[in-house]
Symmetry: C2
Subunit: 231 residues, 2 copies
DNA sequence: ATGCGTATTATGTCTGCACATATTATTCTG
DNA sequence: CAGAATAATATGTGCAGACATAATACGCAT
């Protein structure tokens, strides 16, 4: 009988240890909450809290009545935090700056209107360049749905970047992100100051507020950029 | 006085609604748990559960004594699930296959030994190609630390890929991931069957079991690959 | 005014209990 | 024997109360 495991973090740690040490091998059914509670000498709610946390981390599969078993394939969930670009730059100790390249109301290409489900409606197209210590850091190509971001049409986006303004003024409920590699075009090469054909890291994000699209943005990062995440 | 909000999910939804509707604007201090509990007509523990969930999602900042406030910059946390390659391929409805290209004990380049902190020790170097419907899907370049993955030296990795074997037999406690864009070299182009210089999506991952390195792997995905995540 | 100790307060967590709910096992019935 | 009704069981959640802990506010002494 293990003792002194009375808070949920300690329980979690012990559970993780047993999984790691293969005391509870992958696929195995582990004791139920009540039994673990008596073993650890704590309340069932405490065990529940711990097991829930481990399950959220993907190392346990829980089902009512069926019990809790160790995940066969612990899906490595990396939580990459996509911050505001200004912050990302400043966190690296560099001076942030940005320049508006273009801002106009226009009919988006089919890719965009299809992704945002905005039909033939005109959207606000904003292009901007972000700098870190005066070196191009990322090229932003954004389409804003005026119907999903009230007040956007009145914003110049010259001093405050669209990136930051939207975060502050346009709430969203969900979205999706795609990460990919992109081969630099001639125009992009000139704006970002890199060689044509260079491999660049691209991030495309759509955000929604309920059923209405808010914005779609593609960020093209300067050469050498790597996105970090922890397991 | 709102009523009928008695379970934590309903509380969470109401909290999200208020944040979204700017009833609680960014940066604002929201009522404390006890007050919300009386307002909603539920126990404080229920409110706590809900607020904790919202805080974990990054929309609230909580501090003892200081209270709970709406996050100024809701850090968009995208949880990308990095599954086993076989599964990723099969989930797309394609037939998975893989081929071992190389397997030998060798001294790793400085980049690797530095990242894994293995000094001058020899590591197991495994290179393999993953296919989806017989088309190259990803090129795997892996260094395995025998000290961190017991039994790895006895594995041929021809029928079972190192990817899968390690997941099953080498537990890990943490790691880090870097995502980047890579310009294809001539050798890689030949193996992946794409043009030299093409922009490819690369994933480099180090995993650890406590303080000892387990493995470092770089996956180079075929042209056109995009990694998806949700917000 | 300045610095330090103390009181206050909001969140964090544990407990013991109860009931809800999903899922599996079992039994009953035609 | 098939299929439906029913029981059993593990997790999910709610509640009230208690104490722990961190961070702030306040007041006191210097």
């Amino acid at each position: 009988m293990t003792k002194g495991i009375r808070n949920w973090q300690a329980v979690q740690q012990e559970v993780l240890r047993r999984i790691n040490a293969r005391e509870w091998p992958p696929g195995a059914l582990i004791p139920n909450e009540a039994d673990l509670a008596t073993e650890f000498g704590c309340a069932r709610a405490t065990v529940n809290r711990a097991l829930r946390a481990v399950a959220e981390a993907g190392l346990l599969d829980r089902k009512r009545r069926a019990g809790t078993r160790v995940a066969l394939q612990p899906v490595a969930r990396a939580t990459l935090s996509i911050a505001v670009i200004r912050q990302e730059v400043e966190d690296k100790g560099a001076r942030y700056d940005h320049r508006l390249l273009e801002r106009k109301l226009a009919r988006p290409p089919a890719t965009v209107s299809r992704a945002l489900k905005t039909g033939a409606a005109a959207l606000l197209h904003v292009r901007a360049l972000h700098f870190a210590d005066d070196v191009p850091y990322a090229l932003e190509d954004r389409w804003i749905n005026p119907a999903g971001a009230a007040g956007a049409l009145d914003q110049p986006f010259d001093t405050t970047s669209a990136n930051e303004w939207l975060l502050e003024h346009a709430p969203y409920t969900g979205g999706d992100i795609a990460l990919s590699a992109h081969s630099t075009t001639a125009a992009e090469a000139q704006e970002l100051g890199c060689a044509e054909g260079a491999a660049l890291f691209a991030l495309t994000r759509n955000t929604w507020n309920g059923d209405t699209a808010v914005t779609r943005v593609r960020l093209l990062f300067a050469h050498g950029y790597a996105m970090q995440a922890d397991l």
